[in-house]
């Protein structure tokens, strides 16, 4: 059930009405309803993996209680490692098993050893990377005594499986979400309206920008040999907007949906393409994943303390693991590596905490320095995304060499003017709203209703007009 599908458009109002009316504001009943709805939502993908989801939930639920109740550190550590090993074991098996087998076989072949490869027919359970990280953060937080274990299984299961974030995040923390789940929730009109507005904006980003950019980005990446360097630039430029609008559009819909149920999810994107350096970009891009790795990997490794070697090691570890988290492919690892190279100088020269404010805050336009630094950072991001999008390393390398070759057959390729105008309009909207939670959060709040609604209808019409055939969200595969 995609967020941009008719089935979700039917599912959401039903759950919403049952949630606020049938449960008579009893939060226990509401949680039970949310859990059933979430399991139904997940079962629409593949009901067989419900058992895996249930197993993972039970594992972390009991591990959390065991860690919390353990009398000594040894037992606490034991239960922590039980949870970590099983969680990562499942993730490794379902997501990375075939990657390791093929990489091992390729390695042997390179050494001249013939190897008959038999990969396993493993289906990747949707959302596994996300719910595994939910569970892990929960048990680690209990181990670190940041939170208490949740004794009510329903409450805990809702924290892990809450349907807006189950498939592709944002990666929630128990410290943020659980306290909201275990207490009574009152309907908040302005929060619900804001949620609907954020859903509308998310749909616009996904359906209008991402899906339409995808048509041309796919065509260029799939046939890069036929195109000239400038076209390849267009291809990766459009992919850069595709990936951002696809994923941030998804999280806007997820956050907006959660707000309809009176729940605030963590922010996941903060206008990353207006970043003035790469460190700022990573504070604004996929924030919940970045902070997850920061808190549960980078800081335990020593963070940016220690000498040059330790800082370098930690930066590379966090970015390589982050890249690998995205998918079982060397392209993601190289993407992570490139970003580590980008970020490293700012960590070594201690400029990574620069630009903590919003760019051009209180001004309409950026100054020249800000403009140049944003353009440069965006350029670095675009280049790295070539590896993210490519099928394999060879594809990426050929794409890059063709991009800078300025030669070869120059096949005519034209991006529709309408799409260019839409992207330009989107950038302006994002820039105007960069001080908000999402671009149109404050648009028209003080306008007369008829004008405000006209804006929403206009957006909806653009969405309908430019809708393609319902592409899946890119981050579902992760």
């Amino acid at each position: 059930m995609l967020f941009n599908s008719l089935s979700f458009a039917i599912f959401l109002p039903i759950v919403f009405i049952l949630y606020w009316f049938a449960t008579k504001n009893n939060f226990k009943l509401q949680n039970m309803l949310l859990l059933i709805a979430s399991y139904f939502f997940y079962a629409c993908w593949d009901y067989r993996f419900l058992f895996l989801l249930l197993f993972s939930t039970l594992l972390d639920y009991f591990s959390g209680i065991k860690i919390f109740e353990a009398e000594n550190k040894k037992k606490r550590t034991f239960w922590l490692w039980v949870s970590i090993c099983i969680n990562l074991g499942l993730l490794g098996y379902f997501k990375y098993c075939n990657f390791f087998i093929t990489s091992f076989a390729d390695g042997l072949t390179d050494l001249g050893v013939k190897f008959n490869i038999h990969t396993l027919q493993i289906i990747l359970p949707v959302g596994i990377s996300f719910y595994t990280f939910h569970g892990l953060s929960y048990v680690i937080d209990i181990y670190k005594e940041r939170i208490k274990a949740e004794n009510n299984f329903i409450n805990y299961a809702v924290f892990v499986c809450f349907f807006p974030l189950l498939i592709a995040g944002p990666i929630e923390r128990a410290t943020n979400l659980l306290p909201q789940i275990v207490k009574k929730r009152e309907f908040d009109y302005s929060k619900a309206v804001d949620g609907l507005r954020q859903i509308l904006w998310g749909l616009f980003k996904k359906i209008v920008i991402a899906d339409n950019c995808a048509i041309y980005a796919d065509a260029v990446f799939d046939n890069y040999n036929d195109y000239s360097g400038i076209t390849l630039f267009w291809g990766v430029f459009l992919f850069t907007f595709q990936i951002y609008c696809d994923f941030s559009g998804y999280t806007d819909i997820a956050i907006g949906t959660a707000r309809l149920f009176g729940i605030n999810l963590l922010r996941n994107f903060a206008f990353p393409y207006f970043s003035r350096n790469i460190a700022e970009f990573w504070r604004r891009w996929n924030i919940t994943l970045s902070t997850w790795f920061r808190d549960y990997l980078y800081i335990p490794l020593g963070g940016s303390k220690g000498g040059v070697w330790m800082k370098t090691r930690n930066i590379f570890i966090i970015f390589l693991v982050s890249g690998f988290w995205h998918g079982a492919n060397w392209t993601f690892i190289i993407w992570g590596f490139i970003n580590a190279v980008y970020v490293l100088p700012s960590v070594l020269f201690k400029t990574n905490r620069d630009n903590l404010n919003i760019v051009a805050q209180g001004r309409i336009l950026p100054n020249l320095k800000e403009l140049l630094s944003m353009t440069f950072t965006f350029g670095l991001t675009v280049f790295a995304f070539i590896f993210f999008r490519s099928e394999n390393i060879e594809h990426a390398v050929r794409y890059v060499s063709k991009l800078f070759s300025f030669s070869g057959n120059s096949t005519a390729f034209s991006v529709p003017v309408a799409l260019v105008l839409l992207i330009a309009g989107f950038i302006i909207a994002e820039w105007r709203g960069r001080e908000q939670q999402y671009a149109i959060a404050d648009v028209g709040l003080k306008w007369p209703k008829i004008i405000r609604w006209s804006l929403y209808y206009g957006l909806a019409l653009v969405i309908f007009y430019f809708s393609t055939s319902g592409k899946q969200f890119i981050y579902f595969q992760f």
Partner: protein, 292 residues
């Protein structure tokens, strides 16, 4: 909470109401336009079919004929068009119906109920009977907003365009210049029309059923039906799977149909478009001249 529900209900009810009003109005207007359609005086022959006929017959050069073919028009849509046209145009004595090998492939189903339906079926939506409308909506549920958007845009052509540009009507169109047949394009075309995921496609039950319906309709109205196989490049012909040529021939002989077969006409490469199964303006001139 009540305010929220009231406001959201109003918010969604307004466009829904507008949509319903638009759909009903356009349905009436389009049906009337189709029912009122009259061919020019003296027209006795009708050319119907998809882009193959649309590109091949320039009816401006034929005083007693009109070409109402349109790109991607499946036989299902041709049937309902013919039904309407015959009602109000008793002078029509003959129908040339474009019928090639690709028409019996499941490729044709993509335009009625498949992935291209939102673009093609939406042109004819208003002139279809209710049952067909339901069937097409059922097959476009996944892309319903886009489909309805296209239906409205296409339906509005009756209001804002000249008759020849009505979304369902069609007519001769061949603006491709300086192009010639290319093996690469022909290979791609063949793979599209006769194969899917590397496997040979099956036969389109819907299109074959509507061919039979057109045959019965013409018999009933005492109209001469002639099938028209437009010119095909030799390389294209050589690539058509045998099962399709056999099925095609069996349909012709079973129904004892008259066929004008341009398939064996030898034309040079410049008479074809790159895909080898459409003729260029030069090819169109040669094909049209046959009917003079």
């Amino acid at each position: 909470m009540k305010t929220f529900l009231r406001q959201t209900s109003i918010f969604f009810a307004i466009p829904f109401g507008v949509l319903i009003v638009l759909l009903f109005s356009l349905n009436y207007i389009n049906n009337k336009a189709m029912a009122d359609y009259k061919t020019d005086t003296g027209v006795q022959s009708l050319f119907m079919g998809d882009s193959h006929v649309q590109c091949a017959i320039n009816s401006a050069l034929l005083p007693d004929a009109v070409n109402l073919s349109q790109s991607s028009e499946a036989l299902l849509f041709s049937y309902f068009k013919i039904k309407y046209i015959l009602q109000n145009n008793p002078a029509i004595k003959r129908i040339y119906l474009g019928f090639g090998y690709h028409n019996i492939s499941t490729y044709a189903d993509e335009f009625t109920y498949g992935k291209y339906a939102y673009d093609v079926a939406s042109r004819y939506f208003f002139i279809l009977p209710v049952e067909q409308k339901k069937e097409i909506i059922k097959h476009n549920l996944k892309q319903l907003p886009k489909f309805l958007g296209k239906v409205l845009i296409n339906g509005a052509t009756t209001l804002i365009e000249k008759e020849e540009n009505y979304s369902f009507l069609g007519g001769y169109k061949n603006e491709y210049k300086n192009l010639i047949a290319s093996k690469l394009s022909i290979d791609y075309r063949i793979s599209l029309q006769f194969y899917e995921n590397g496997k040979q496609r099956g036969f389109s039950a819907v299109n074959i059923m509507y061919l039979n319906k057109i045959i019965l309709l013409c018999k009933d109205k005492n109209i001469e039906l002639v099938l028209l196989k437009t010119p095909l490049h030799n390389y294209y012909k050589s690539k058509i799977p045998l099962t399709f040529t056999e099925k095609y021939d069996s349909l012709i002989s079973l129904n004892k149909l008259k066929v004008i077969d341009f398939g064996n006409l030898v034309l040079n490469d410049s008479c074809y478009l790159p895909n080898g199964d459409h003729v260029s303006p030069r090819g169109a001139l040669l094909t049209t001249n046959f009917f003079k």
